[in-house]
Amino acid sequence: MGVKIKSMKNEDFKDNETLESLNELGDNVFLTTIDNVLNWGRSNSIWPLTFATSCCGIEMMAAGASRYDFARFGIEVYRASPRQADVIVVAGTIVHKMVPILKRLYDQMAEPKYVIAMGACAVSGGPFYYNNYSVVRGVDHVLPVDVYVPGCPPRPEALLYGVMQLQRKIKTKSIAAKKKNNNDGEKSGADEK
């Protein structure tokens, strides 16, 4: 099953080994066609949740606005309700007081759901890593993160690239692969969703 994203060549992603290994799973003759249709739909209409805690939220707004306009890539419209959202872009620092709310928001989202950690704070705690009592050092302590977008704050182009990576990841998903994994009892954290 090849990965087809109109705007980006396959070779551009070659460094990402996780995606390549995912690609090898689930090469079923009957299911690939269904997979292709499903994944085409899913990857081209990822609706994000309006969840911005700090500075990165401004760059996320900029990515959605006139110049960068990530509606071009199908990450179309911000939903205020987690029940209508497909992806949660964790834009900004997560502190301990915010963790239960973030977890609840994630639990309220419908499957399939994805997480993009945007900015240094969401990736690792960023500038607030040392000498700090309140900041969670990376949102991956709480949620299974699909794509990390580094930067403080990342440029809108970086977020766009992250979104395209996520699209490619979605395109490697297969119903067969999921079944195979479940039968083997191998759950590999963030990969298995």
Partner: protein, 381 residues
């Protein structure tokens, strides 16, 4: 002598009496119109707000505590992230405090560039507020118009500093490095461009009847309330409280620049809107005065890599896009400060919200909190 304003009356009005059968609705922490992770515990009587309690701390990043283990040149990277829309002004506050403590005179060129950066940030910040405020009230067009023109300012920033939002460009003693040779030219181009756009915004939102109905007479704040709660910035000036630090306690180059403080008396949401729109024009005037006259020279005064402030307490205040930011440094003569305290404008501006929103509809609560222009990480720090 003027009789002092009776603060107790203002504060008594704000005392909240909770009852067991109150109907409580939580707004936030994840709510698009709170502009961040603010939680408002709203008590409703039908659709009318009975009282409202703001809960903060959802983005408390311990910036003050972290400052105690950073050198003075490192603190600027944290102040950037406090009020990220007026990052330059936040940096300038801590830089001026350190410079005053060490009695360093910065070069003329630095002073001019700092003022230009302050005013560019102010325009960008008010402009983003304009876009977001329109969006809060259901006018999505303003968001796209606003972000389109804001990118022009960010392009100037990017050219000189390499980053769009958080620059950490102003350092104690001067600037991080020199600005791009095209800095002046592009500012003037931007000023000319933006002057043409302002009438468009007026047509789009300021003269809009629906907008008038949503904002006029909503969230009235008297001058007394503004002073009692310490509401500063455009929100305070919309109530006739003369609180522009650039005028009352000039720093940098501001006492040599010719500009007027925007003051209005009506005190409702629409007035606060008008103050910001007029401040953008005033900032363009300042930019015109400054950008053409940036003198040649050094971009920084001579500074040691690690500075030690003499023992003592230092206070410096600056006018950010949201009001008065105060930096209070206690030094015990070491390379790290003993204590740093920020008096952030948004913290004071938030707690007047209950007084303004009482007896209003819940839809107007969005208007009022929007018109105060809150940045939540600045409240929690």
């Amino acid at each position: 002598m003027n009789s002092p304003i009776d603060m107790s009356e203002e504060i008594i009005k704000n005392i909240i009496v909770k009852e067991d059968d109150d109907y409580i609705v939580n707004m936030g922490p994840q709510h698009p119109s709170t502009h961040g992770v603010l939680r408002l515990e709203v008590c409703l009587n039908g659709e009318t707000v009975k009282y409202m309690v703001p809960h903060i701390g959802y983005i408390h990043r311990a910036i003050e505590k972290m400052s105690e283990s950073d050198t003075y040149k490192q603190i600027i990277h944290l102040t950037d992230r406090m009020d990220y829309l007026s990052a330059h002004m936040n940096n300038e506050a801590i830089c001026l405090a350190v410079e005053n403590a060490l009695e360093i005179e910065v070069p003329e060129r630095v002073k001019y560039i700092r003022v230009a950066l302050d005013e560019l940030s102010r325009v960008a910040s008010h402009h983003l507020w304009w876009s977001a405020f329109g969006m809060d009230l259901g006018a999505l067009t303003t968001f796209f118009y606003g972000m389109r023109d804001r990118e022009k300012i960010l392009a100037i920033f990017e050219e000189s500093f390499g980053s769009r939002l958080l620059h950490s460009f102003v350092t104690p003693g001067g600037l991080m490095h020199d600005v791009h040779p095209n800095f002046q030219k592009h500012i003037m181009e931007f000023v000319r461009y933006f002057r043409k756009k302002l009438p468009e915004y007026k047509q789009l939102l300021t003269d809009n009847v629906i907008f008038h109905n949503r904002t006029k007479g909503i969230g009235y704040m008297s001058r007394e309330t503004a002073i009692a709660f310490g509401v500063t910035g455009p929100s305070g000036r919309g109530s006739g409280f003369s609180c522009d630090v650039r005028k009352t306690a000039p720093y940098g180059l501001y006492n040599e620049i010719n500009f007027k403080e925007i003051l209005h008396d009506e005190g409702d949401s629409f007035t606060r809107y008008l103050v910001r729109m007029e401040e953008m024009e005033e900032s363009l005037n300042i930019l015109e005065q400054v950008a053409d006259n940036i003198p040649e020279g050094d971009f920084t005064a001579k500074m040691k890599p690690i500075v030690k402030l003499p023992e003592g307490e230092y206070y410096q205040r600056v006018e950010t896009a949201r009001g008065e930011l105060g930096v209070y440094i206690v030094s015990d003569g070491k390379k790290f400060p003993y204590r740093v305290k920020f008096r952030s404008p948004n913290f004071s501006n938030l707690f007047v919200l209950n007084t303004l929103a009482m007896e209003h509809l819940i839809a107007d609560l969005v208007t009022i909190s929007g018109s105060l222009d809150l940045v939540i990480p600045d409240i929690d720090r």
